[in-house]
């Protein structure tokens, strides 16, 4: 039974969005299995998981783009979502400047656009054609378009895809800055573990169901996480994310998954 209650906010008043027992099936296959997830104001939550684990489906369900087969999604009344999709495939035959692209979502004067682009570090592309800017610039422009709506919740699907490591940590710092400046919640999807671990308040590791959730350093010690990503990755991340922590035991050897 699906109940997408827009009129009724999540239980905790700081929670912007809360999903309970979200399940999505597609042609007999279970994509999401009773997934719970919440994002609160001022919090950066990152959903990680291998390819095909259901990350994008989860985001699409939270955004209301698909209807879950079971579960409830509660949104704070009047919640404004700023969304940055993973890919933006723009046909080369469509002449569209960055300025025009930004104002497709919301009207804004030119100086506001310039200020916003400066905030995300690409003030010089305002009059460029969308087709002419780089992948990294595109991520920032998408971020600017999401911010233009003054969002309560920022949803970023793979904001680092196609950006190299140096650019990635810069982008992550930017996202953390934005969270502070706009006092919004951030929900990110990523398959890149290293940077995620360094710049996230809470990690939700999914493999159709929620494997484990918590602070990055706790998640990396969780047996299911270790089983999913391999012991080397887990140990590397555990050391990487909290080298001041003296507890180095990775809990348990890799265990078989209880679900396919």
């Amino acid at each position: 039974m699906t109940e997408t209650a827009h009129h009724q906010g999540p239980g905790d008043s700081s929670q912007l969005i809360a999903a309970h027992g979200l399940s999505v099936h597609f042609h007999e296959r279970t994509i999401l299995d009773r997934v719970d997830l919440t994002v609160s104001r001022g919090e950066i939550v990152t959903v990680i998981g291998l390819n095909g684990a259901g990350k994008s489906t989860l985001v699409r369900a939270l955004l209301g783009l698909i209807t879950p087969d079971a579960g409830r999604i509660l949104r704070q009344p009047g919640l404004r979502i700023g969304y940055s999709p993973q890919h933006l495939h723009l046909d080369a035959t469509l002449p569209l400047s960055v300025a025009r692209f930004l104002t497709l979502g919301a009207h804004a004067p030119r100086r506001r656009l310039l200020k916003l682009l400066a905030e995300v570090g690409v003030a010089d592309v305002l009059d460029s054609q969308i087709a002419e800017i780089s992948g990294g610039e595109m991520h920032r422009v998408l971020l600017a378009r999401a911010l233009l709506r003054k969002p309560d919740l920022l949803v970023l699907d793979e904001p680092l895809a196609g950006v190299d490591v140096a650019g990635q940590s810069e982008l992550y710092r930017l996202i953390a800055d934005i969270r502070d400046r706009y006092a919004c919640g951030v929900l990110m999807v990523s398959h890149d573990l290293h940077v995620v671990m360094a710049a996230t308040d809470r990690v939700v590791c999914i493999n159709h169901h929620v494997c484990c959730t918590g602070r990055p350093e706790a998640v990396t010690r969780h047996p299911e996480f270790v089983a999913l990503f391999g012991r080397h990755v887990a140990e590397g991340l555990a050391v990487y994310s909290h080298h001041h922590d003296h507890q180095h035991d990775v809990a348990g050897a890799p265990v078989p998954l209880d679900e396919g």
């Binding site: 046909d91 010089d124 992948g135 650019g167």
Partner: protein, 277 residues
């Protein structure tokens, strides 16, 4: 100037004006094959219009809409890739149309006229139908313009920002059906798509905003109609194909034009780290 020629000019210009903006979106949204499928169903629409005793353009319009709805329904089943599904629908509709008009012995069908258009036989009644549908298309396009542009750029993003995606898509399909219905008379079902997409393709080279591209597509379409018609009169050759050839000539000429100038002096050096173009 003879009356029939004046009517032909006005009718052709009416179609070109409506086709410009619609053609741009067909190109941007990669819906050329969808447009072709609708055009193929036009003959069945002629038979439908005749059976119902309504204006034949209205019959074509109605059938195009039906086919588009059928397509949307079938596409949801994910039975076949989209282009295969369109190919099946297009040719079933064409074959059905040919059989239907053969059955209707009362209907004096000038098959060549429907396939390749008969602009010089445009009547005052046709002109009224063209004017009505062209105006409807232009009004509809300006109404959904911004939303359609938004879903053309990214459907998910548009949906999250509150655009009623399904409704806008349906609205656009109606516009395409409208242009196909009136274009039949001018260049025929086999060539109508070229009058829709060639001027848009020509405009791309010279435009730096979506609106300018649509406007230029209208200009090139109208030029093609006028020049094609005069050429047809002068050399006594079929007018529909000459209009299309004129459009193609303009397209070829536009390729020699320098690309639209974009204010894009983006310094490559000293900027953001590690963002390769």
């Amino acid at each position: 100037m003879d009356d029939f020629f004046l009517r032909a000019l006005l009718g052709g210009i009416g179609v070109a004006v409506a086709a410009g903006p619609v053609g741009c979106f067909i190109v941007w949204r990669r819906m050329v094959y969808f447009g072709a499928a609708l055009a193929h169903s036009a003959l069945l629409g002629v038979a439908l219009g005749f059976l119902l005793g309504i204006d034949l353009s209205a019959g074509i319009f109605a059938l195009c809409v039906l086919l588009a709805l059928l397509f949307v329904l079938l596409e949801r089943q994910h039975l076949l890739p989209t282009d295969t599904l369109l190919g099946v629908l297009a040719h079933v509709a064409l074959a059905g149309g040919l059989v239907a008009v053969a059955f209707l012995s009362d209907l004096r069908v000038d098959l060549m006229g429907y396939l390749f258009g008969d602009i010089l036989a445009v009547t005052t009644g046709d002109l009224a139908a063209i004017a009505a549908l062209a105006l409807m298309t232009l009004a509809g396009m300006s109404f959904i313009w911004r939303a359609l542009l938004s879903i053309t750029v990214n459907e998910d993003l548009a949906a999250v920002e509150g655009v009623p995606v399904a409704g806008v898509r349906l609205g656009f399909v109606l516009m395409v059906a409208g242009v196909v219905a009136i274009g039949m008379k001018i260049v025929g079902m086999l060539l109508i798509l070229s009058l829709i997409i060639i001027p848009a393709a020509t405009a791309r080279r010279l435009a730096s905003t979506p609106e300018r591209m649509a406007l230029l597509a209208v200009v090139f379409g109208v030029l093609s109609v006028i020049a094609g018609l005069y050429a047809s009169l002068y050399w006594d050759l079929p007018s529909g194909p000459l209009i299309v050839l004129t459009a193609a000539l303009l397209f070829a000429l536009s390729q020699a034009w320098p690309r639209a100038r974009h204010a894009s002096a983006v310094p490559l050096a000293g900027g953001r780290a590690g963002e390769a173009r």
